[in-house]
């Protein structure tokens, strides 16, 4: 892959001490038809860390995440422009092999969506295109289910439909399905919003286990969750990134665990973000 560095201005925040960014987002704008949902997003995602994306509903968190694997392209009226550099390649450029990109960046969605297939075939689905020998597929399925902490619960019933599992199990099945592809990153779009606290705890444990091996980005509504599992936090508001930094600092600065930041404060930050933006552009 060609290595060309993004020749654009620096983002508001750069993690100099942390590992090199796996992904650099520059000047990302997103449109639903005529409605613009993201404005000039700049973001660096450190490799091997957990990055949390937080912010109020409808602020563009999921939209931002969905540009990384270009899944929005399923809908003809959605459009992204700007640059997203993954290992020196702008993945928004037309030449990108989207299928390969999606194999490199696994995604876990808000609601667990098991395919109408057996548990085994659900996990093996992504491998089917690779013409692997049977034993290897079985091994990798087992490995992924173990990583997703689901193996012990389903090893006897691999032939049963994935839809007969509980909600929490289904979500871990979806994680196994993504992990089996041995992706470089996991994009998690509120993976715990539709499941119970016990299952949530299991998934958080899982995320901490996977950290280091995978670069993980998690969109979440749950502040405690972001504080517990993430290293870096990006705060989104009205389609803009207000601030990015180590989770501890961001949470101290905004006292996010105690209170929701006041409207005035967010507006002030938004104005500041827009000013910085204007400076960077000029």
């Amino acid at each position: 892959m060609a290595t060309s560095s993004p020749g654009v201005t620096a983002p508001p925040y750069c993690d100099r001490t942390a590992p090199p960014p796996k992904i650099r987002v520059r000047n990302l704008n997103f449109f639903y038809g005529r409605h613009q949902a993201l404005f000039n997003n700049h973001l660096d995602i450190p490799e091997g860390r957990v990055t949390a994306i937080i912010g109020p509903s409808g602020c563009g968190k999921s939209t931002h995440l969905r540009t990384y694997n270009r899944i929005y392209e399923l809908y003809p009226d959605q459009r992204a422009d700007g640059e997203i550099w993954l290992d020196g390649h702008n993945l928004l450029s037309p030449g990108t092999d989207v299928m390969q990109l999606r194999q490199r960046l696994g995604m876990v969605f808000q609601r667990p969506v098991p395919f109408p297939l057996s548990i085994f075939d659900n996990v093996a689905f992504g491998l089917r295109g690779q013409r692997l020998p049977r034993e290897e597929v079985a091994d990798r399925v087992e490995g992924a289910l173990r990583k997703a902490a689901l193996w012990e619960e389903v090893k006897e019933v691999l032939h049963r439909p994935g839809t007969c599992l509980s909600g929490g199990q289904q979500q871990r099945l979806c994680i196994a399905r993504a992990v089996v592809m041995e992706p470089e990153m996991l994009l998690m779009d509120e993976p715990c919003s539709a499941i119970d606290p016990v299952a949530t705890a299991k998934i958080e444990e899982l995320i901490l286990d996977l950290k280091g091996k995978y670069t993980i980005i998690i969109v979440t509504h749950n502040m405690q969750q972001a504080a517990r599992i993430s290293d870096v936090t990006a705060y989104f508001y009205q389609g803009r990134i207000l601030t990015v930094g180590p989770t501890v600092e961001i949470f101290r600065e905004f006292s996010l665990l105690e209170d929701v930041p006041s409207q005035e404060r967010l507006e002030a930050l938004l104005a500041r973000a827009q000013e910085t933006q204007a400076l960077l552009v000029s």
């Binding site: 003809p76 696994g106 395919f115 689905f125 992504g126 089917r128 592809m181």
Partner: protein
Amino acid sequence: MRYRPPTGRKLVNWVVSGGAAASALVGIVFLVWITWEVLYRGITALNWDFFTHLPTPPGVPGGGMANAIVGTLVLTAAATAASVPLGLLAGIYLAEFAEESRLGDLSRFSANVLMGLPSIIVGVFAYALVVLPLGNFCGYAGVVALAVIMLPVVTRTTEDMLRLVPNTLREAALALGAPRWRVTLAVVFRAAKSGLITGILLAVARVSGETAPLLFTALNSPFWFHSLAEPTPNLTVTIFNYAMSPYHDWQQKAWGASFLITFGVLWITIVTRVMLRERKG
């Protein structure tokens, strides 16, 4: 509250609801009447010979419609085999690939028009297309006519059923790096499976009672089914011929054949109903 005599509004309400109920009753009465007549008269005409023997000339006792039963099954099966793959592919195209394209709109519109086309016109079309060039009535022409009638039904139900599959499922499969065709065949198709089978069965039910398109094409034959290159015996045209004949024993046989078709279609309809209900549940 002051007592008020029935006013115009109440009267209108009474007339409308009464009229609606009466109309519904008329529909049901005829349905039950027809079903009862076919059942009562048809079932007495059925016996072992009916399913195993060739027809006899009027007045000769015994004989059956084995050839027409086989012929109808073959014609319907061949038409299904010809139209289902095409219809499924067209439905996939409309639902998955052509949401906002000109060609998609055009195909959808044509399918809708084709669905409303009187079947006798399809029969004449197949006559001009197959019978005239070949020079004789043949089963192939009948298959073409029936397939043309089935095609839009399969296409539209396939499209509708695929559209019912939520996009989250497509997203989840695409996000694993699977190509679109595999997402459609391995995931979306399975999710819509019972709906797709329902569509095919409804199309089969639709053509299994068709007479007009066969009159011009497959015609009929009193002999065993041999090949689709010859006139092919079938139940519906046999019913038409026998019911119009002055012979009492032929008329009896027509009732028997009507019974077979009516309850065959009824059975298919019930099966599809049950499948659709399971899908919802």
